[in-house]
Symmetry: C2
Subunit: 213 residues, 2 copies
DNA sequence: GTTGCCATACCGACCGTTTAGTATCGAGTG
DNA sequence: CACTCGATACTAAACGGTCGGTATGGCAAC
C-alpha cells in the first residue's frame, strides 16, 4: 500500500481509478454505483475523482474504452497463427475465460444492456465493439471459405451474428445462474454444431464435440 | 381517458400500474426509474402507487411476475399441435416478435442483467424463468429424439442451453443496434444450423435457411 | 358512517458536483 | 545548496436536487 512507483502520493492514479471504477460498474451497474463508492474502494475521496475526470459519465467512458481495447487485443492474440476453425474455437474459450475472471467480468454485458436508452455515448462505444467483433468473426469465416475449409455457400455475416449471439447469451445465463449453467459446455456445443454445419459437403462428419465417451 | 369501467376514480388500477411500471423499468432500468416517473406516466401520484404496493421493489416484483407469466403462456401456445422441429422454429419467431413489440420488449433482458448482484428476489425470478425455458426446449428436443425426428445422440440439455443463448444474445444485439443487426435472419440462421445438425444420420440435408436465391 | 382510493405535503437520506484550501513534488534561479 | 514558484494531487465540506417512503386528510360509494 506504500509507493507503487507510479504515483507521487499514496492514492490511486488515474489509471487505477478506471480499473476500480469499471469493477464497481460491472458489479452494480452505472446507476447503482455512486462516486463515493468508487472513491471508498480506491482509498481516496470524491474530490480526487473529480480531479481526474470531469464527471461520472466521463469516468465511465474512459473506463469502458480501456476495457474494450483490452478485450479486443486478447481476442486478436488468441487467433494468431491459427487456422479459421481453430480461431473460432479459441475465441469462444477466450470469452469463457473472460466471463470467469475475477475482476473483469460482466462489464460488457452489464453496461451494454444498461446503456440502452439511457446513455447514448456508451451505447455507441458498445455498438462499435459488437460491430467490430462480428466483422472479425465474419472475416475469419470468409478466410475459411476462401481456403476451402468451410462451406462457401454459407452466409458469413449471419454466421458471425449467430456466433456473437451465442457468446453474449451464454455469458448472460452464466452470470444469472453460475451454479446451474455450464458456460464452457454450452459454447463448445454451439461451436461444434456450427463447424459441423460449415463443413463442406462430402467432408467427413464428426459427432457433436470431441470423442469423450 | 375518462372512465374505463374498471375504477371508480379516473386513475389507473393495480393491474395498469404494473403494465406502466414494467414499461418504464424496461426502458430505463430499475434504478433509473423513479416512483414519480411511473406515477406521472400513469396519471396518478406517488400516493396511489404506495396504496397498491408496499415498496418500489414490491411493484417491480409484481410487474415482473405478470410479464413472465404472459411470455411463457405465449411460448406454450405457439407450440400447440406442432412437431418438435416446427416448435423450435416457432419459439424463435415468438421471441423475435416479442423483441419488436411496442410495449413489452427489453424487460427481460434489462431487468435480468440489472438484477445480477443487485436484486436477489428478482434475480431468483429470472433464474426460474430461464430454467423453465431451457427445460421446455429440452423436452421438445427429447420428444423429437423419441420420435426419431432428431438425432438421439445429441445432448438435449446443451442444445437447449445453446438455443437460449442464441435468443438472448440476438435480442441483446438487436436492442443495441436495431438498424444494423437483423434479428430474424440471425435467429433463422441459428435454428436452421441447429436443426441440420440434429438431423439423424442418413436423412436428406438441406442448405442453410430456405431457398432464397 | 365506514371503507376504499387517492392527492398533498413532507421527511431524511443520498447523490453528483463544486469549491476552497492543503500537501507534495520538480524545475528554475541565485 | 537553499529557495521560490507553479503544477499536480488530493481532502473536507457544503450545495442543490432527487429519491424512496410516510403521514394525513378528503372525496366518492355503499
Amino acid at each position: 500500500m506504500a509507493t507503487d512507483g507510479r504515483t507521487r502520493r499514496n492514492g490511486a492514479g488515474r489509471r487505477d481509478l478506471t480499473e476500480i471504477a469499471i469493477n464497481c460498474f460491472a458489479r452494480h451497474g452505472y446507476q447503482g454505483t455512486s462516486i463515493d463508492r468508487i472513491a471508498r474502494e480506491a482509498g481516496v475521496t470524491k474530490g480526487a475523482i473529480y480531479h481526474h475526470f470531469r464527471s461520472k459519465e466521463d469516468l465511465l467512458a474512459a473506463a469502458v474504452r480501456d476495457r474494450i481495447g483490452e478485450f479486443e487485443t486478447r481476442v486478436q492474440n488468441a487467433c494468431r497463427d491459427a487456422a479459421p476453425d481453430e480461431s473460432l474455437r479459441r475465441i469462444a474459450e477466450v470469452c469463457a475465460e473472460h466471463a470467469r475472471s475475477e475482476d473483469r467480468p460482466r462489464f460488457a454485458i452489464k453496461l451494454m444492456v444498461e446503456s440502452i436508452e439511457t446513455n447514448a455515448p456508451v451505447l455507441e462505444e458498445m455498438r462499435g465493439m459488437m460491430r467490430r467483433f462480428r466483422a472479425f468473426l465474419r472475416n475469419i469465416v470468409r478466410a475459411g471459405q476462401d481456403s476451402g475449409l468451410l462451406r462457401s455457400d454459407a452466409d458469413a455475416d449471419a454466421v458471425a451474428a449467430a456466433y456473437t449471439s451465442a457468446v453474449i447469451g451464454a455469458e448472460t445465463q452464466f452470470y444469472l445462474d453460475p451454479k446451474r449453467f455450464s458456460l464452457e459446455h454450452t459454447l463448445e456445443t454451439f461451436v461444434s454444431q456450427m463447424l459441423d454445419n460449415l463443413r463442406p459437403a462430402g467432408a467427413a462428419q464428426t459427432l457433436q464435440g470431441r470423442s469423450d465417451p
